[in-house]
């Protein structure tokens, strides 16, 4: 369960001494239930990515609170946030954000390394997951040897490997063609169904949003539930 209460954030832009305030988030509140796929939609600059960053703990909001599965995360320091992310979140990014020097399998394995899981257990878990998401054939390939769809699958694999209850996806299909986009969305739907993972998808694409159980629309720093 994700509970966001009265989140507000203002950026100051412009030259020092003559900064202009941009109220990017204005007292936003919403709740996302477990196992939901929720799409946060909105135009560029509407504040949807900022909202995701606040939820993930990448940045601190000026006011408000975020509770993840009952745990208040707003007051955590950087190290506590990192530890919290490692066990509670998976991340999928628009441009995949894979490590170029690691193979597909090694990229997926990375969060398990951070968790201090022994190599033998990591190997079996990575193999099983790669099989599940259709990447077994490309396990030893480096990111630059993979197609965009395969790279995003690796990115999803990396997000899934620690069995997090929530996956935050920022424009997960933004760099993909429509056919691959459909494949990825189908994979997300399958994983949600199979593992009961909550997906929060940031997108400006209505087609992507249509896959979600619920749509929240960001407009001018405010959030509205859409039918």
């Amino acid at each position: 369960m994700i509970e966001v209460q009265n989140i507000a954030h203002t950026f100051l832009i412009g030259k020092k001494g003559a900064e202009q305030p941009i109220h990017v988030l204005k007292a936003i509140s919403f709740t996302i239930k477990p196992k939901e796929i929720v799409a946060i939609v909105g135009k560029s600059g509407s504040g949807k990515s900022t909202l995701l960053q606040v939820m993930a703990g990448f940045m601190k909001a000026d006011t408000g609170s975020v509770k993840i599965n009952g745990k208040e995360t707003t007051g955590l320091n950087e190290a506590e946030h990192a530890a919290f992310r490692l066990t509670n979140f998976g991340f999928v990014f628009q441009n995949f954000q894979l490590m170029p020097g690691l193979t597909a399998a090694e990229n997926i394995e990375l969060p398990l390394k951070l968790q201090g899981i022994p190599a033998s257990e990591r190997k079996s878990r990575v193999e099983a997951l790669m099989q599940r998401i259709g990447l077994a054939e490309v396990a030893a390939h480096y990111p630059n040897e993979l197609s965009g769809g395969q790279q995003q699958r690796v990115s999803i694999g990396r997000a899934l490997i620690t069995n997090p209850p929530i996956i935050l996806a920022d424009e997960p299909t933004g760099s993909l063609d429509s056919e691959t986009e459909q494949e990825i969305l189908q994979l997300i739907a399958d994983l949600n169904k199979a593992f009961g993972i909550t997906f929060v998808i940031i997108t400006h694409d209505d087609e992507v949003a249509s896959f979600a159980h619920r749509r929240l629309k960001m407009h001018d720093g405010q959030l509205k539930e859409e039918a």
Partner: protein, 426 residues
């Protein structure tokens, strides 16, 4: 993250940037090797001076020259801890002329209690210690110094010729060539007041050769019973001192301190060693300081390498932070990399330094000998010595500086903003 995985992570990045890391290790190696080799000169020279002093038997001796020393205290000296023997040495404070047929020599004379003297002096080169009052033991070069007029002339010419060539001639070709042991020599002692004693003495033994090749020993050692032959000669009594022989060098200082506290006039070569050690401690500290500057210059290379590594990997660091890597872990990974550079650089530097040190000690005497014509090798000079303490100090400085150089870039890595990092182009 398990340590093995952390090491793998560091290794992967080192391999990826091997040329840059290699150059940085090279800089660290040169800096550290310079530090060690420079300081090794200080250690080497100190070792040379120390060896020079230690090769003299005097290091286990304490000289006690004090008129205020009572007979009772003198007698009790042998009961002090770790004392091997106490020998009273009485000097013959005037010229001593030896004559054998047409040959004569001038020497120093000393009187000893022969039992104690034998105990500390050990084996003679030839013959035995005096048993009777009119028997003497002579220095190793005594016979060589017994010259007639022809010998003296030849000797003078050879010395002059040797001096011109900047060489040393000790008179090996001249002197009495027979066996001096068993010969009876006439000794003449004369003081400033023209008092004179002339008496024949039988040579019964020859002392061992002195420690140094350049030393000439033509002294005459009398038994203390022989003092009676010189009774009436001024000054009366002859000046004397006590030589306390300790069982080891380590035990010299405690007794020396104790005797000083008693207000007695004492001397030991060990005191000189203390002064030498202080001098060399300051000298070595100076060399270490200069060497450390080289290490500091090398550290600029490490700082640059690590800063570039952090800048290049900003996106990777951002991803790591996003998926849950703690700032401490990120800092540790970069510190491990700079420590790796420091440790590898130091290990190679230590090996190179040993090679340089051995080469210098082997080659420099040959080079100097060729350049100056002097036989440096015979003096057993150590130009460079690398004791384990120097390795420890230099390693600590080198690795420490490498770690400090890497610390700031590592801190910078922890401060990378995840959002900014993820926005970087792949």
């Amino acid at each position: 993250m398990l340590l093995k995985d952390q090491l793998d992570f560091v290794k992967q990045h080192i391999v990826k940037n091997k040329m840059r890391v290699f150059m940085t290790i090279l800089a660290a190696t040169i800096g550290c090797a310079f530090l060690i080799v420079l300081a090794s000169v200080g250690f080497g020279l100190q070792q040379t001076v120390k060896n020079e002093i230690l090769s003299d038997e005097a290091v286990t001796r304490i000289q006690l020259y004090d008129d205020s020393l009572t007979k009772e205290r003198a007698a009790s000296l042998k009961d002090e801890d770790n004392v091997k023997a106490v020998v009273q040495k009485t000097h013959l404070p005037m010229a001593l002329k030896s004559e054998l047929d047409d040959r004569e020599a001038h020497s120093e004379g000393k009187f000893y209690d022969m039992t104690a003297f034998q105990k500390v002096n050990g084996k003679l080169a030839q013959g035995s210690y005096p048993k009777a009052a009119d028997e003497i033991v002579v220095g190793y070069h005594y016979a060589q110094r017994l010259m007639n007029e022809a010998d003296q002339e030849a000797y003078n010419e050879k010395v002059e010729a040797a001096n011109k060539k900047q060489e040393n001639y000790m008179g090996e070709d001249e002197g009495f060539k027979g066996n001096i042991v068993g010969q009876t020599v006439t000794l003449t002692v004369e003081n400033d007041e023209e008092q004179q004693v002339v008496k024949p003495f039988k040579v019964v033994g020859i002392l061992q050769a002195p420690s140094y090749e350049w030393m000439i020993d033509n002294q005459v050692i009398f038994s203390d019973k022989a003092i009676n032959f010189f009774a009436g000669l001024q000054p009366d009594p002859f000046p004397s001192e006590y030589i306390i022989h300790m069982d080891s060098m380590e035990n010299v200082k405690p007794l020396l301190t104790k005797l000083k506290k008693e207000g007695l006039g004492v001397y030991s070569v060990i005191e000189q060693m203390d002064q030498i050690n202080v001098f060399f401690a300051v000298f070595k500290a100076g060399l270490l300081f200069v060497g450390t500057i080289a290490v500091l210059i090398a550290s600029i290379g490490i700082f640059n390498t690590m800063t570039m590594a952090v800048t290049e990997r900003t996106r990777e660091i951002g991803v790591l932070k996003a998926i849950g890597a703690s700032p401490k872990l990120i800092q540790r990974l970069f510190l491990m990399e700079s420590a790796f550079i420091g440790i590898v650089g130091t290990v190679i530097a230590v090996i190179i330094s040993y090679v340089i040190s051995v080469t210098v000690n082997f080659a420099l005497p040959i080079v100097l000998e060729m350049a100056t014509g002097e036989d440096i090798g015979e003096r057993e000079m150590i130009f460079s010595a690398i004791p384990w303490q120097l390795v420890v100090i230099a390693s600590a400085i080198s690795i420490g500086v490498a770690m400090i150089s890497g610390w700031r870039p590592a801190r910078k890595a922890t401060k990378i903003d995840v959002i900014q990092a993820l926005r970087q182009e792949v």
